[in-house]
Symmetry: D2
Subunit: 372 residues, 4 copies
């Protein structure tokens, strides 16, 4: 199998995460093509060269179009700020490259639609970086659901909370500017929706309410400026399956750092999960004698594939960056034409439409259907 050539645009939080995934994927999984780190792009040639040296890329530069044009590049990691995703992804697909683009997909529904169309037209693989769905414990939830372990799901709750906007004294920044989007709704919402999509299918209709913990924030220059985005959002919803649900998002939740808490209630049992302890999973099943029933806490172990590719011993914990390696492996499998667990651009568009329906519901104060 010949090596696959990789181009990386952006080297921030997610760019580094992609670089680490590309570096490790072959060593972790053993199968698939070797990875050739071909071309890295950053805002300046100097930074690009520095990162290329750190990450081991053969070539670097500040022109992302040159990267896309580079014949040594077969797949492009796009990890730049969200507003650039559409232009880069469309260009890469049109140049015949596979694309691995970070979420959220785009900053407008129109852009997301354009990306999905480009992907369809290209015949190339176009995948979004929803790494939480790659967690072996999330896969295990999927296996439990598919196996009917808790029966038909009738209700679900999901919360996503962090505290990076919790400090009232933080100066007004771009996240409080309406140009950045709705706030928690698109910043966080896509993650729970991606999990719901993967585990329980699409959302049919939504009712959303948004809130601002702080009406205004201080300006660096003195004075205050009214906040235009909502750090808090709450959504009632119904899945196409008929199950009802509640979603709560808060990026100003003091003390929460990476909480994505799922509660799935079925006819014969329940499943609980929290991303802050993502190597664990709790399952209650209504069978056996009453006196020994309870939530069972399952620790991630080699039996939960592909945990075994990382560590042969149970209870030793995968890390957040490992999830990106799994995602990278799924992307390579899809490129090789195999079944793979990925959020492609069509599903990504469905997720964006769901968020958009939430925003519309919040504005109109009514239930809004998610158009397919």
């Amino acid at each position: 199998m010949t090596a696959i050539g990789v181009g990386l645009i952006g080297t921030g939080y997610m760019g580094k995460c992609h670089a680490l995934a590309w570096t490790s994927v072959k060593a972790v999984f053993g199968d698939g093509p070797a990875v050739r780190l071909a071309h890295l792009s950053e805002v300046t040639p100097e930074l690009a060269a520095q990162r290329a040296a750190e990450f081991g890329f053969a070539r670097s530069g500040s022109d992302w179009r040159a990267l896309i044009a580079d014949p040594a590049v077969e797949v492009v990691s796009i990890t730049t700020p969200n507003q650039f995703h559409a232009e880069m992804a469309v260009a890469a697909l049109e140049a015949g490259k596979h694309v691995w683009c970070e979420k959220p997909m785009a900053t407008s529904l129109a852009d997301a639609e354009r990306m999905a169309a480009a992907a369809r037209a290209s015949g190339r693989v176009a995948v979004l970086g929803y790494n939480y769905i790659q967690n072996p414990m999330v896969r295990q939830i999927g296996a439990l659901l598919a196996g009917g372990r808790i029966g038909r799901v009738n209700h679900v709750r999901v919360e996503m909370d962090e505290d990076f906007m919790a400090d009232a004294s933080t100066a007004f920044g771009w996240k409080s500017d309406k140009g950045s989007g709705h706030g928690a709704l698109d910043d966080f919402g896509v993650h729970p929706v991606s999990l719901l999509h993967t585990l329980l299918g699409p959302i049919a209709r939504v009712f959303c309410h948004q809130a601002k913990p702080y009406a205004a924030r201080p300006l660096a220059a003195g004075g205050m400026r009214a906040v235009e985005t909502h750090d808090i959002a709450a959504i009632l919803f119904e899945l196409e399956s008929g199950a009802s649900g509640v979603m709560a998002l808060n990026r100003s939740a003091w003390g929460r750092k990476g909480r994505i808490a799922l509660q799935i209630f079925g006819d014969t049992g329940s499943i609980l999960f929290d991303q802050e302890r993502f190597n664990e999973l709790q399952v209650f099943v209504a069978d056996g004698p009453n006196e020994t029933r309870g939530f069972t806490n399952i620790l991630a172990a080699p039996v939960h594939a592909p945990y075994d590719r990382f560590i042969p011993a149970a209870g030793h914990s995968l890390g957040f960056n490992d999830l990106k390696v799994i995602e990278c492996h799924e992307l390579l499998a899809r490129i090789a034409g195999s079944e793979a667990r990925v959020i492609d651009f069509d599903t990504g568009l469905a997720i964006e439409r769901t968020i958009e329906a939430m925003a519309r519901s919040s504005r109109d104060e009514r239930w809004v259907g998610v158009s397919p």
Copy 2:
């Protein structure tokens, strides 16, 4: 101080809980009047006599009007099924007795209004059995909020879940009949609302959605009958204070037994609480060095009054029935004319109106204000 004469109507779950509270309150607290167990009423004279022997009441019978008329009775515990609350409470108040009535207050808003009016007219003490607010750890939450420990509260979430309706094979019973009320909304809703009222003040407006995990349930005689109540309810709300909130109620949540989970987010910290571990409390405060910040788990201790009246050692745990003893003590304080932490009939009516607004919102699919 002369002893106070107690009448008890009903000896089921809450009736026994009242009996235990009346029996222990003087021994636990040391202060206040001695308690004279004067008169007990049950559906048959035989059952009444048996329970009177067990609980130590001097007199018994099946005529609750005789109990109310009994001059030996100064305060009446009403613990019968909800549909009898109004008639009994009004009669007792009109007879000049103090009333301690179990929640929910009544089965219609009209009844609740009648009860509140009777209480106002009587000049007697009329209190509802919202025992969760009596938990020393809930009081501690109140003290933390009052002391500004987490700043102004900007968002709150509360869940209440049990699983007594979770089994799909359970035969159709009165809780699935619309005569019993809305379902989880009034069965559970009053508890979170009472906690919010006590800790954070009244709710201003609500948006509610109700759901049925099972469309129909089996009849004992064979066949199925359509379920008329909703075992699941979810509510978006705004407090009068301006804080936004989410409430989720589920009486068919497999594995949940007595969960009432509170998450209170403030400008400078957060507070977490779960009734299933009600001797604990978690507090995050955004001060001190970042590397040692986190949620602090506080164990109930003598320093959290009136835990000290029960146990002089920390971390030894109060029980559910102890909360009723505290409530009984507050009732006696109120009767003695002191400040007391109780939900009186006026506040109880406000709680009922809040639930009613939720029901209306669910029916009309719109935000509904809670009329004061």
Copy 3:
């Protein structure tokens, strides 16, 4: 059934706990004799009278011998400081009274032997106040063990930790004086040993090491005084069953409030328990598919008798004082000639001998057998 007459000596921490148990036991359980609160004894007549009023005792005084001689008293609760247990218990038994004596049994092995002999000679019921064994969840552990749920037990660990001696600045007090005993060894040791005895049978041999976190403590008058007791003890042991074990005791463990943590390892599973969350229990059983194995957290529920006598709903939590009510009920059952779960004076003596063997081992730095 005629009422049983109760005498109570002492009204401190445990005295009040006994009083509450005597007050509630009939109302909680419904069966057994009514309880007549006959006679209360305290150090002064005034305090005795005050407590008698609070607790509802008919007679009071400062002469415990008068209480024992009182024909209205059939059973005597002894809750005085430990050094008085022997004299009072022996006198009560010789007067033909049943005895309910708080642990630890006595302050010397000779006293404990005298008490056990008096109990045997009297033909009366003589029981010690080891209330932790009465917890329904501890009973559930016993049921799981008896049912072979985790196979033969091969190893056990038990820790007991509080922090009442943790503050180095606390003045030298009687607990640091060798007159009070060994320290954590007898202060705490009897509790884990009583649990082991009840659940897993007697200890065969021990190796013990004691430690002092603080060599000296401040005197109120200024200066320091060398500490003579050991706030920390650690014991390796073997049960008569052949299982090995580790016990760790620390009364200067900052942050621990009522921790008694059990870990029981068997051939086919494990059981975990912690008294700080004594309404819970964790069980791991090595069966079923590997991917869903884990520790199951069981919440106390009516199915765990006699929880149902207190609360008909699961997950609502018993309290520490409720355990004493259960113990009181077991005592009454034993008095009535029924099977009962109690630590009688013979077993209490065996527990004291085990502690004594630990002390000897610590002194001699060798394994010491527990003489039966």
Copy 4:
């Protein structure tokens, strides 16, 4: 900075872990030399070639002496079975290579001494793979201790438990053969001792007891064979600092997967840690008002260096393999002549001597001093 040439001997559990660390270290940390994967050795040339392709090594073969002799190799990762460590490490050091050898150091004290002597003679860096000490939360414990946050440490408890030997039906294997060592004592003991060494300094004396949960195990050919090693060990100890301690090890503890539980008690606070949730840490400090004291649960975050090199967001969790990357970075720092957090061969020898003292104590049933 010129790249450093790496040789890897062994590609099992730890071999792959080393390979991943070498692959990622430069990309994660950005600093230090680039890494050249020069030479990989396995038991057969075929397996060596396969792994070299997967891991990206330039050269491969089955002759580890050729690897050591390879001038392209500057540092040698030794991850073979323990009995080969000594010969390989000594040879590598004598050839002037730096050595990164997996723990435990060797299978005999004589071998360990030979290795330490070779390291000293060589002037090269020789480091053992004790990766648990590299956890940012373990470093944070160290920082808290150094900063006096819990005062002088007076008592410590540490447990290490897994369940790979828990199944009684597992056939007799090499881990039950005395040729493999003592059992849990050396299999597990080195890890807690390495943590104690790093955080609290050397152990002064020990008393140890070993136990066998199963006297015999089935032979594949039928019949049973007596087990010669101890799956359980318990150790009482004193640190050179004067603190007392308890260590409990169990490799047949059903349900435990990667538990290394630390409890550190100091004069003014306590610290708790469990490797099964190694991105968390609990700290109790005895200051501030009593009503808000408790254990604070700290989530790993960028503020806990070098977590920030992996993930810029708090609460997103490092994984087990990430700890090896940190260790690799420390090794490179040491090679570059900087301060580094490593267990070198001298400290490794001290750890082995501590284990040996435990074994001797167990055999002689007496306290044994750890010779420096």
